[in-house]
């Protein structure tokens, strides 16, 4: 029976390698059209969360139904066979914690607090219904991608810094280390995707079955149980990760995995308290307005909140973004970073363009191509640049700081921002003046001015500005295409 486990390990290794490889290729700027968002497209937590949040199930997220269908057939096999975070935890548990059999028995017992994940799921989905999508905070695929991108990629040769990335890295590391004490602690106790699949696993056709009359209650099956689902007692199918470790462990071969086995009587359901669940639901309804009212609302002015090009308006954006960090990794100039405080509490870990770190490359549409939920819509280069004849897609407007700018304040020639400006005609132009210096001698100076109707807010001027620390030309979100109210100019002008 050990062959089943070998096949499972092969699956786990395959999916982990593919997941890491896709992430690495994305960060490396692989120009091929690889399925970078495939894992996230198949994530039913994103599908359900985005649908609850926005009232629509965008594009390829419909693949999440396949994973639910598989769960209806086989139980939470995704968790045991596919999920990269599950595999990493299993590895960590095995590497760092050689356990005696007695210890194994102890750590693999079911605990009541494993029900927390169901409360977390309820809270996240009710929150989504109330208008704030936060599934990405705990979604294992988002967590893993973000933790690696923020905590590992910056350390690799050629790696680019990810300010604030330590939060995600520490979280991922913490989850892995926790497996030292309780194997797959995150899967068992906290994973909302696992909880969602657990709900459907209760209808699973194929499941673990223990032949009661053959069982000698030796407990060997529990020693390697990944889900703490008690194959020995009344098996908890919603907790079972279908690792199948219990099959070869049973000396009596009393345990089988089969279609439509007889159910234990009574079948064990999650230990949910109706009172707690009601409290969770009521509390979560209040969270969205509370986050808005006290965490810096959506209405608050966020002058430096530059969203990637093609992003939806802020309310719709926050109903769709699953904080997967793919756009961040796709960005060739490292312009996109995860918001810590820039987007309010609600927008924690959503993508924000930081021009001093990188600029939005004029004809690049990479972030929208990899966004799994359509929070950043897909643009064609012609649409983004305005070469299709319509106004270009703008993410903000550049403003010259005349007190810091070399020609404006220091009498020193400099043309870098104008030189870099990619629009046609350039949004940055020169006002040429004769200026008397300290010595009284007159010289010609070219002072940069911004044509706000032409500026797309790409930020290359701010990025390349030779004035150190705070640049002398900076991009603010006013004039962004996604918000018709955040405008400077009146009339039918494009801005």
């Amino acid at each position: 029976m050990r062959w089943t486990i070998r096949i499972r390990v092969l699956y786990q290794a395959f999916f982990l390698v593919v997941f890491l490889w896709l992430l690495a290729r994305l960060a490396a700027g692989d120009a091929r059209d690889l399925p970078f968002s495939a894992f996230h497209h198949g994530d039913p937590l994103s599908a359900v969360g985005v649908t609850f949040g926005s009232g629509t199930l965008p594009g390829a997220l419909v693949w999440g139904s396949v994973l639910i269908a598989l769960t209806l057939l086989f139980g939470r096999a995704f968790c045991g066979w596919v999920c990269p975070l599950g595999t990493l935890q299993q590895l960590s548990s095995r590497l760092f914690s050689p356990r005696t059999r007695r210890e194994s028995l102890h750590v693999n017992r079911y605990r009541r607090w494993y029900a927390i994940k169901y409360y977390a799921l309820a809270a996240l989905l009710v929150g989504a219904l109330a208008g704030t999508l936060q599934t990405g905070l705990l979604d294992p695929l988002s967590l893993t991608a973000r933790g690696l991108a923020s905590g590992l990629w910056p350390l690799l040769p050629g790696g680019r810094p990810a300010p604030g990335g330590w939060v995600a890295a520490v979280l991922l590391l913490g989850i892995l280390v926790a497996s030292r004490w309780i194997p797959r602690m995150f899967c068992r106790g906290f994973c909302p995707l696992g909880a969602l699949l657990g709900v459907f696993a209760r209808f699973a056709v194929c499941r673990i079955h223990r032949a009661g009359d053959a069982c000698t209650s030796c407990k060997l099956c529990t020693f390697a149980c990944q889900g703490a689902d008690e194959p020995l007692g009344s098996h908890r199918v919603g907790e079972c990760l279908v690792c199948l470790n219990c099959l070869p462990a049973c000396p009596e071969q009393a345990i089988t995995y089969q279609a439509l086995p007889a159910l234990p009587a009574p079948p064990k359901e999650p230990d949910l308290s109706r009172r707690y669940l009601l409290g969770t639901v009521l509390g979560s309804i209040a969270v969205a307005p509370l986050l808005r009212a006290t965490g810096g609302g959506r209405e608050a002015a966020r002058p430096r909140l530059l969203r990637p090009p093609g992003s939806l308006g802020e309310a719709e954006f926050l109903q769709r973004c699953v904080k997967c960090s793919l756009c961040q990794q796709a960005c060739p100039t490292s312009a996109i970073h995860s918001a810590i405080g820039q987007a309010g509490v609600e927008g924690f870990w959503t993508p924000v363009v930081v021009p001093r770190r990188g600029w939005c490359e004029f004809a690049c549409t990479r972030c929208g191509e990899v966004c799994p939920t359509g929070a950043i819509t897909r643009l064609t280069p012609a649409r983004k640049t305005g070469y299709d004849g319509k106004p270009p897609v703008s993410i903000g407007t550049a403003f010259v700081d005349r007190g810091r700018c070399l020609p404006w304040a220091m009498g020193t020639p400099c043309i870098v921002c104008e030189e870099m400006c990619p629009t046609d005609p350039k949004a940055i132009w020169f006002e040429t003046v004769d200026e008397a210096g300290r010595d009284g001698a007159s010289r010609k100076l070219q002072r940069p001015r911004v044509d706000v109707a032409k500026c797309v807010g790409c930020g290359i001027c701010e990025n390349k500005c030779p004035v150190g620390e705070e640049a002398a030309i900076r991009v603010y979100s006013v004039g962004e295409t996604r918000d018709p109210l955040n405008r400077l100019l009146a009339g039918g002008l494009p801005k």
């Binding site: 629509t56 139904s65 209808f203 032949a211 053959a214 009393a254 918000d483 405008r487 100019l489 009339g491």
Partner: protein, 321 residues
């Protein structure tokens, strides 16, 4: 023992369990199919209705003078054919005074409360089912509505006064105006609309009158319109076509507008004009401040666009009561 016993599941139980799985699958499938790429409900932009009624044969404007503002309103409206010409039984009327500022009536920054109240009374007498008085104030709306006297006077006259803190805004189609502007939702529900500006000096457009008064039904972003004020005011005049414009010149703010403050800037003119031609109404109001209509950019622009005629000879002067 000879190996594990075979599980015993009756055919009935197997069918029941499979059907529950199938029901779960069907529910998920139906949910996903229903919501997949569903067009999310986006507020569709409503067109601004045209609230005018067919021109009465009695001319396009009438002005009444006298010390009683309510009497001036009655005489001017009567000369235009009476409120019954403009408001029919059962209609909802929106009255749009200028309640922009936290000022007292004597300071002449807002429309006179007696003028507003008399219009409300005339509408109700003409059979209006509901009269709404509203404006989006520039200062704190509660203070504006209270201290202008309009809250008390219009409520006493039978109107439903909605200050801007309690207003709902709707997305409307405003071609030619700045993108993304919202308008007072009540406006889209009203059958008839009466614009009741007050005559004031204005630092940018020189005078502020009826067409400029439409700023007060616009939401966030309206201040961008000042970038091209004459075109914007004419555009407002083309967008919002009121049933009647009643210009309040009980007191006229001659300087430091549109906020004012000093009583030294207030002229006691004691006149009210009722007009179906909004351009003529503005021209008459401007003339009270000594402006020739052709010298004002927004009036010239509105006339050029055919919104009305700024010919003061068309005003029927009713004299002093």
């Amino acid at each position: 023992m000879s190996g594990p016993s075979t599980p015993k599941v009756t055919r009935r139980e197997a069918l029941l369990r499979l059907s529950s799985t199938a029901v779960a699958a069907a529910a998920v499938g139906a949910g996903f199919a229903t919501f997949h790429d569903r067009r999310t409900v986006s507020a569709s932009a409503s067109a601004i209705p045209d609230w005018r009624v067919p021109q009465p044969g009695t001319g396009t404007a009438a002005a009444a003078r006298g010390s009683d503002p309510a009497g001036n309103v009655r005489r001017a409206v009567a000369a235009m054919g009476g409120m019954e010409r403009f408001v029919r039984k059962g209609e909802t009327v929106l009255v749009k005074p200028n309640v922009g500022w936290d000022r007292l009536p004597e300071q002449a920054a807002n429309t006179d409360p007696q003028v507003v109240a008399e219009i409300v009374r005339l509408c109700i007498a003409a059979g209006a089912r509901r009269v709404v008085v509203t404006d989006i104030s520039c200062n704190d709306p509660r203070r504006c509505f209270a201290r202008s006297g309009i809250q008390a006077a219009a409520t006493a006259a039978g109107a439903e006064v909605i200050e801007s803190g309690r207003l709902h805004l709707a997305t409307a189609a405003l071609p030619g105006l700045s993108a993304g502007l919202q308008v007072v939702e009540e406006l889209l529900r009203a059958d008839r609309v009466i614009n009741v500006p007050v005559v004031k000096h204005h630092s940018l457009s020189r005078v502020t009158l009826g067409m400029k008064n439409w700023f007060g039904v616009l939401g966030k972003g309206r201040n961008r319109l000042h970038q091209d004020i004459n075109r914007a005011v004419a555009e407002l005049g083309a967008t919002f076509r009121p049933t009647l414009t009643v210009v309040d010149a009980t007191r006229v703010l001659a300087a430091n507008g549109p906020v004012g403050g000093s009583l030294a800037d207030v002229l006691p003119v004691g006149a009210v004009l009722a007009a179906t031609d909004p351009v003529l109404a503005d021209a008459w109001g401007a003339s009270l401040l000594g402006h020739k209509p052709e010298g004002l950019g927004f009036i010239a622009e509105a006339e050029r666009r055919g919104l009305g005629r700024a010919d003061l000879a068309l005003v029927k002067e009713l004299g002093t009561a």
